[in-house]
């Protein structure tokens, strides 16, 4: 039974800088970097060293917690650097890409009939497992568990997010193959959630073997956590897996071709990008070739791998995050503003109507990276709830985390949430509280204590 769900609370942040629907293919990938930090809480065990030649699909490291899970190189080339931080923690594995990519071939595999365990083993072997994320805790899925459902959101409502219809265009068979694999992994449903008006592509609307649910309403309507909360909420002890459309596409394509194909269509967005386009590149690609000469002010621009709510700040020398399919560039805040807090604020955005910009509801904003105020104790109530469309009390949950009260966290629904679900709460917060960081800490604690 497919469902229609209207998300009522939330916020579509209207920013300047959407990507035009033109795809350019990056002719030469310079370097790529795979950062183990993208796989939260997992410990990498290196399988390569500096100087090694790798193919696309050669494992770079396996995961200590689940030794069968491997992260592979998306390109062929030479391992040129292993970046280490404090206590020799691995921050990144840098690979200088060959001009033409050669792939490590895997033997043919009948993914439609192989037993579930063999399918999972194959996904792990090919380096496709890290695409599976799980709730609770918002981490890479534990391959030993059986999820009660799998969620794929076929649209993205985040600020300036790419149009998934466009991303998936021309890749129908690969995407369907990805979905077919998912249906084999759960005894429950695979939910493919489409947007009531935005989703037009038949690749989504006529997908086979899955439950297609329709969503409408503002961000975070596209967050899989919000979607499953309304479709089939996660109870204690239950597990749900979630994947993004580009990740499903990558799984489908790789399984069909029997090689790890790490290509990825990335939207270059944000007010500071000159040519806002979609670019076909690879997972972990260096951003410099995409952005050099394509940014208004190099020294006063913030480059984000991902979107402005959940993305990671990177430098021009930085790399695309493992799960990201969007790069955003916004102005970095520059000058202090004289009596800024009393300004009429035609260019400032607020969900409260305390700046005159609320008179222009259709306006698109150029927002800078400013905190817009000072960190303060928690004062205002009711504002998080306006942008948090779950039957969970966000403030009470945050306070339970700050108090390190595990029982209360569990009782208030911590198993159902991820930091990204709280991104808008953090955005609207009058007291500038780092909400996502608090949620992440809470989930980490809970995970450690319940493991």
């Amino acid at each position: 039974m497919s469902k229609h769900i209207k998300i009522r609370r939330g916020l579509d942040l209207r920013l300047e800088g959407e990507a035009e629907k033109i795809t350019t293919v990056q002719d030469h990938i310079d370097t790529v970097c795979i950062s183990p930090a993208d796989f939260h809480l997992l410990t990498p065990k290196l399988l390569v060293q500096v100087g090694d030649e790798v193919k696309a699909g050669t494992p770079l490291f396996f995961v200590k917690e689940y030794p069968q899970v491997k992260v592979v190189s998306p390109v062929s080339g030479e391992v040129v650097e292993i970046i280490r931080g404090e206590k020799r923690r691995i921050l990144g594995i840098k690979i200088l890409a060959d001009k033409t990519i050669t792939y490590q071939k895997f033997p043919p595999f009948d993914y439609q009939n192989a037993p579930r365990e063999e399918l999972i083993a194959r996904l792990c072997e090919m380096g496709l497992w890290p695409f599976f994320k799980q709730r609770p805790f918002d981490v890479v899925a534990n391959p030993m568990l059986v999820p009660k459902a799998i969620v794929v959101s076929a649209f993205d409502t985040a600020p300036l997010a790419p149009d998934m219809d466009f991303v998936v265009h021309g890749c129908g068979p690969e995407f369907q193959a990805g979905l077919d694999i998912l249906t084999r992994l759960t005894p429950g449903k695979v939910h493919l959630n489409v947007h009531e008006t935005r989703t037009r592509s038949d690749i989504f609307l006529k997908a086979r073997g899955v439950t297609i649910n329709t969503f409408s309403g503002p961000h975070p309507a596209s967050n899989p956590g919000v979607q499953i909360h309304h479709l089939d909420p996660i109870n204690k002890g239950e597990v749900v897996w979630m994947l993004s459309v580009p990740d499903v596409l990558c799984i489908g394509r790789s399984i069909l071709e029997n090689q790890f194909v790490g290509t990825r269509v990335v939207a270059l967005t944000g007010s500071e990008i000159l040519k806002r386009r979609y670019v076909k590149t690879v997972i972990g690609a260096t951003l410099k070739p995409l952005l050099a000469g394509n940014i208004t002010h190099t020294d006063s621009t913030r480059i984000i791998s991902g979107n402005v709510l959940t993305g990671k700040q990177v430098s021009l020398e930085g790399y695309l995050g493992y799960y990201h399919y969007q790069v955003t560039a916004i102005p970095e805040v520059q000058e202090p503003q004289f009596l800024g807090w009393i300004a009429p604020g035609f260019r400032k955005f607020s969900i409260s109507r305390s700046y005159l910009s609320w008179l222009m509801p259709r306006k698109k904003y150029i927002l800078d990276s400013g905190l817009q105020g000072e960190k303060r104790p928690f004062v205002v109530t009711g504002e998080y709830e306006k942008v948090f469309p779950m039957d969970i009390y966000p403030v009470q949950l945050i306070k339970a985390i700050l108090a390190n009260d595990l029982e209360q966290m569990e009782a208030l629904g911590a198993y159902e949430v991820a930091p990204e679900d709280f991104a808008l709460c953090e955005f609207v917060c009058t007291s500038k509280i780092p909400v996502q960081k608090i949620i992440r800490q809470g989930l980490d604690t809970l995970m450690k204590e319940t493991a």
């Binding site: 920013l15 909420p233 109870n235 204690k236 239950e238 913030r302 402005v308 709510l309 993305g311 700040q313 955003t328 916004i330 805040v333 000058e335 202090p336 503003q337 004289f338 009596l339 800024g340 807090w341 009393i342 604020g345 400032k348 955005f349 607020s350 969900i351 409260s352 109507r353 305390s354 700046y355 800078d368 990276s369 400013g370 905190l371 817009q372 105020g373 000072e374 960190k375 303060r376 104790p377 004062v379 109530t381 009711g382 709830e385 009390y393 403030v395 009470q396 009782a411 208030l412 629904g413 930091p419 991104a423 953090e426 955005f427 609207v428 917060c429 009058t430 500038k432 996502q436 960081k437």
Partner: protein, 396 residues
Amino acid sequence: MNFLRNFFEKKLGPHFHEGGKWHKYWPAYEAFYTFLFLPAEKSSEGVHVHDAMNLKRLMSMVIIALIPPFLFGMFNTGYQHFLALGQQADLWQCMAYGASKLLPLVLVSYAVGLSIEFAFCVAKGHPVSEGYLVTGLLIPLVLPADIPLWMVALAVAFAVIFAKEVFGGTGMNILNVALTARAFLFFAYPSYMSGNIWVSGVPAEVNARSGATLLAQAADSEFLGHFRAVNGVGYENTFLSAFLGLVPGSIGETSALACLIGGLFLVGTGVASWRIIVSVFAGAYLTGLLFNALGWNAYMRLPAHYHLVMGGLAFGAVYMATDPVSAAQTSIGKWIYGFLIGVMTILIRVVNPAYPEGVMLAILLLNVLAPVIDYFVVQGNVRRRLKRFKTAAHVQ
């Protein structure tokens, strides 16, 4: 403004930063600097862009919303003064007289309150929060104009220290700070806070004639006749004068109209909870109707809508009950919290002969109960989740 910025950042700043000779006083420097400049502080974790709302903006919105009752209170203080003396006075004379009474109160309230606030923040190394900017303006508005200044200073000191700082400062208090100051004076110096004291700057015998609030008059058993005798008009007309605020009372509370304007601004800008404001009035009105139906004495028969414009109900509903720190925090909780404030206010007014006004005590009582209300609301959510869990476990 570059001159000012240079002065602050280059000349003054270094002394207050880590290692500077006045580093201890960093919170005071930060308070002044951020008052002048919205700092160019970058988002460093989590979201990369932020809503332009911040605590300074929030507090300045409340201060703007306080302008109508502030100005009207100023005028009415003068108006009541000249009316009781039987003198003719124009608008500006009334304003001038009101200002001579109100401004010293505001000055004392800010001076004492902010000094204590700064001292605590320096001692604890916390940044100075903006909460007192509103509290400091609310306190004078809920006092009679003739209150001695030293009493105000004492009340402010008591409220800021014992209602706020001992709990950990802004955001941590249980009771509304401004109402705590008023309650302190109400119980410590009752002769200055109740009875026939409400007309400013007139001899006691004049005050005895006209210096009672409408509520005190209403509490009189022979309300209707008495009211006509005192005011020379039937109480049919008092609804309008009470709505406009041309009656004796605390400086800022008399005009329901001014509070309504401020309330619309607060709700419109999204700063105050409309749920609380609406439910306070609803609770008061329905309780008034209930008493009308019982009708055991004249006060109970006072038409319910009179309660909404008399006394401090409107001011309390708009500016006091909505204080987010001391109010209930959940949406359902806010409905219950506001409704009970309305009910308690009328209950205290009508049933308890000792206190002609009930709104202050009602709000303070519900401030104390707010966490309990929230607890039960949140427990409802917890039970829903637990039930879902048990059903799921049962199916398996």
